[in-house]
C-alpha cells in the first residue's frame, strides 16, 4: 500500500520556520556567544604560542586550530566539547515542545506528512549550527591573517574546509541524538537531562573507562610491534564509542599532514615513531591521502548520525499524535 504524494511536501516551509525560530531565539544567542567567546579565546592564546615557536612551519595556519595555549585546550578540543552542547541545546525540545504547546496535531492535520516535520526540524537545526560554525571558522581565519600577517595556502584552506565539514557531521550526530530524546521523552527537561547526561558520560567518563575495558580483551605483555599495534587498535575501538573520540581522530589527521595513521599520536605519546615501509617519516601527506586515512571514521560518523535519526524517525512515525 503506497501513500499518495511526496513525503517532503512542506519540508521547505517547516525548515524555513524552524530556522527563523532558531536564529531569532534567545537560546541560540546564548549558545553562540558561549562558543564564539571560548573558541576565539583559545585561538588567540594559541597564536601567541605559534608566533614564539614555529616560524618556519609550512602548515602554520593549521596550527591555529590545533595549537593550545599555556594550560588551555586547543580550538578543536573546544569544538569537540562545545558542539555537542550546542546541538543538544537546539535539539532537546524539537518534538516534545510541539506536543506540550499542543501544536503537533494541528500542524499534522495540514496536508503534510510527519516526515516533512521531522526532517525539516533536523535540517533547520543543522543549518543553524552550520551558520554558526562557518562564521566562527571565518573569524578564526581572519584572526590568523591579521595576527600572523600571512594568508593561508590553498592546501591549508582545503584542509580547514574538510575540518569544517567534519565538525558539521559531528554536530549532526549529537543533533540526531537530541532529536531522538525529544521524541522519546514527553518532558523537555527530561530529554535535556538525558542528552546532557549522555554527553557528560561520553566526553568525561568514557575516555577513563575505555582503556580498562580494552585491557580485558588484550594480553598484558606486548612483545612485538604488531602486538602493540593490535593492542592500540582495541583501545581505539573502545574509545570510538564516543563520537568525540572519532572527531578527534579525524581532525588530528586532517589538520596535520605529517600524521599518517590515527595511531601515530598514541605511539608518539609512548615515545615511539611509526615508520611505514617506503615512506619518509615526517614528510607531509597530500590532502586526499590524509582523507583516505580517516575515511572509515568519517563514514562511521555520518552513518552514526543517520542511524540515530532513523531510530527517532521510526519511533515518531509510530507514536500517537494525541497528548
Amino acid at each position: 500500500m503506497r501513500r499518495e504524494g511526496s513525503a517532503f511536501q512542506g519540508l521547505g516551509v517547516v525548515t524555513f520556520k524552524e530556522l527563523s525560530d532558531h536564529l531569532t531565539g534567545t537560546r541560540m544567542i546564548v549558545l553562540e556567544w558561549l562558543v564564539v567567546l571560548m573558541a576565539l579565546g583559545v585561538v588567540y592564546t594559541g597564536i601567541q604560542q605559534i608566533r614564539e615557536v614555529s616560524a618556519e612551519d609550512p602548515f602554520l595556519f593549521l596550527r591555529l586550530f590545533t595549537r593550545a595555549g599555556e594550560g588551555l585546550p586547543s580550538f578543536v578540543s573546544v569544538l569537540s566539547f562545545l558542539v555537542p552542547l550546542v546541538s543538544i541545546g537546539i535539539g532537546f525540545d524539537l518534538i516534545n515542545s510541539e506536543r506540550n504547546q499542543r501544536t503537533l496535531s494541528r500542524i499534522l492535520a495540514q496536508p503534510i506528512y510527519r516526515d516533512a516535520l521531522l526532517f525539516g526540524k533536523f535540517l533547520a537545526g543543522l543549518l543553524t549550527i552550520t551558520i554558526m560554525l562557518v562564521a566562527l571558522w571565518l573569524m578564526v581565519i581572519g584572526l590568523g591573517i591579521l595576527t600572523l600577517g600571512l594568508p593561508p595556502g590553498p592546501e591549508e584552506v582545503m584542509r580547514a574546509v574538510a575540518m569544517l565539514f567534519v565538525t558539521v557531521v559531528y554536530a549532526g550526530v549529537w543533533l540526531a541524538l537530541a532529536l531522538f530524546f525529544s521524541i522519546v521523552f514527553r518532558s523537555a527537561a527530561t530529554a535535556a537531562l538525558a542528552a546532557l547526561g549522555l554527553w557528560l558520560f561520553l566526553t568525561i567518563l568514557w575516555p577513563l573507562i575505555a582503556p580498562f575495558l580494552a585491557a580485558l580483551f588484550v594480553s598484558d605483555t606486548v612483545a612485538t610491534p604488531a602486538e602493540l599495534l593490535s593492542h592500540l587498535g582495541v583501545m581505539q575501538a573502545f574509545a570510538r564509542v564516543s563520537p568525540g573520540a572519532l572527531f578527534g581522530e579525524i581532525v588530528g589527521v586532517l589538520l596535520d599532514p605529517t600524521v599518517r595513521s590515527t595511531q601515530q599520536p598514541l605511539l608518539a605519546s609512548l615515545g615511539l615513531a611509526l615508520v611505514q615501509p617506503g615512506s619518509v617519516p615526517g614528510a607531509p601527506l597530500p590532502l586526499l591521502q590524509s582523507i583516505e586515512v580517516v575515511w572509515p571514521q568519517i563514514v562511521g560518523m555520518i552513518a552514526g548520525a543517520i542511524f540515530l535519526f532513523v531510530i527517532g524517525y521510526v519511533i515518531f512515525q509510530r507514536q500517537e499524535v494525541r497528548a
Binding site: 500500500m1 501513500r3 504524494g5 504547546q101 499542543r102 503534510i112 499524535v321 494525541r322
Partner: protein
C-alpha cells in the same frame, strides 16, 4: 475509490470502524454517515472514543478495522487529499505562543501551499469573521482561551475547508465565549460546510447539532436528531407546563385527547404528560373556564435527560440480566 463513485451528499462515511490498543478496544465497530452541510455531534463522556474516531477520520492514527471515507477519500491511503479539504481543531488547540496570530495562520497557510497574496487575503478575512482583527498582530501567548479557540476556527475558515472537525470546541470556555463560538459554528453550516464536533457537555452543543451520536465505551449507543432520541428514550412524551387558576382545571385538562397524566407541581401549576403538543387545546380549556393563563410552555427533550435515562435503563437491564442468569443457575 474517488469522489465520483460516492453519493454526493455523503461527506463522511464510517463502516465498522474499530481501533484497538493492544487488547484494549478504544473504538468498537462504529458506523455512521454525515451528510453535506450537516452539523453532527459526537457526544459522550471522556474516554468514550470520540477523539480516537476523529483522529482516524483524519488519518492521524492507524485504523485497526473497518472502513472510512471522507469526501470520498480513504484517510489511511490518501491522507493529504483528506487533510487538504478538512479543517481540524484539536481539543485545547495550541498555537506558537511567541508568534502573532497572523504569523501562526501564515505558517499553516504556507504548509497548505497558498501563495502570498491569497494567503494575506484569506487570513485577514478569516480573522475578521471570528472577530480577531484587532488582535491580529498580538502574540498568541497573550490570548485568552476563548480567543485561541476562535483562532482555531479562523484557521479552518482560512483553509476554506469543506468539512470542519472540532474536538471539544467549547470545553473550558465561559458562557459568553461559548455562545460566540457556537454562533461561528452555526455560520459554518450556512456556508455549506459540514461540521463534525465532539463534546462531553451535552447541553451546550444540543442547540447547534442537527444530529448526534451518543458514545459510550467505544460504541455508538444512540444516534439521530435530538427529538428522535427523546421519543425513543424518554417514551415519546411531550411535557407541557401550565400555570393558570380555575377550579377543576386539572380534571378538564386530563380529558384532552392524548394527555396521559396531569401532575400538580405547585400552587396553580400543572404538568401534563402527552403524546403530542397539546398547548393549543390546553389554552382553549383555560379560556373556556374563564381562568387566567399565566404560563404555558412545552419542554424540549434535553440531551442530558436522554443520556441519563438511557444509561440508567442500560444499567437496570444489565442488573436484570445478571439476576436472570443467577436465577437460571
Amino acid at each position: 475509490m474517488n469522489a465520483d463513485t460516492v453519493n454526493a451528499d455523503t461527506v463522511i462515511e464510517a463502516k465498522g470502524l474499530t481501533k484497538t490498543y493492544g487488547h484494549a478496544v478504544a473504538v468498537d465497530h462504529i458506523s455512521f454517515t454525515v451528510g453535506r452541510g450537516e452539523i453532527f455531534g459526537l457526544l459522550g463522556p471522556n474516554g468514550a472514543g470520540k477523539t480516537t474516531t476523529i483522529l482516524m477520520l483524519l488519518g492521524l492514527t492507524d485504523i485497526s478495522g473497518g472502513e472510512v471515507s471522507v469526501l470520498g477519500f480513504n484517510p489511511a491511503r490518501e491522507p493529504l487529499s483528506v487533510k487538504r479539504r478538512v479543517g481540524y481543531m484539536p481539543d485545547t488547540v495550541g498555537f506558537y505562543d511567541q508568534m502573532t496570530a497572523v504569523d501562526n495562520l501564515s505558517y499553516t497557510a504556507r504548509l497548505i501551499g497558498f501563495r502570498k497574496a491569497e494567503r494575506e487575503k484569506r487570513i485577514a478575512d478569516a480573522l475578521a469573521r471570528v472577530g480577531l482583527t484587532d488582535a491580529a498582530e498580538k502574540r498568541v501567548g497573550t490570548f485568552s482561551r476563548g480567543m485561541r479557540q476562535r483562532l482555531g476556527l479562523a484557521e479552518i475558515l482560512m483553509k476554506g475547508a469543506q468539512v470542519a472537525i472540532l474536538d471539544e470546541p467549547t470545553s473550558g470556555l465561559d458562557p459568553h465565549a461559548t455562545a460566540e463560538l457556537l454562533a461561528i459554528i452555526r455560520a459554518f453550516k450556512s456556508e455549506g460546510v459540514t461540521v463534525l464536533l465532539s463534546s462531553h457537555l451535552l447541553e451546550r452543543v444540543q442547540s447547534v447539532c442537527d444530529r448526534v451520536a451518543l458514545f459510550s465505551g467505544g460504541h455508538i449507543a444512540l444516534m439521530g436528531t435530538v427529538p428522535e432520541l427523546g421519543r425513543e428514550v424518554l417514551g415519546g412524551g411531550y411535557v407541557v407546563d401550565i400555570e393558570a387558576d380555575g377550579a377543576g382545571l386539572a380534571e378538564r385538562l386530563a380529558l384532552i385527547p392524548g394527555v396521559s397524566g396531569v401532575e400538580r407541581t405547585g400552587i396553580g401549576k400543572l404538568r401534563l404528560q402527552a403524546d403530542r403538543d397539546v398547548r393549543s387545546e390546553a389554552a382553549a380549556e383555560v379560556v373556556a373556564m374563564q381562568g387566567r393563563l399565566k404560563y404555558l410552555g412545552v419542554q424540549e427533550p434535553s440531551l442530558d435527560a436522554i443520556y441519563t435515562r438511557y444509561f440508567e435503563s442500560q444499567i437496570r437491564q444489565d442488573i436484570a440480566a445478571k439476576e436472570g442468569a443467577r436465577d437460571a443457575a
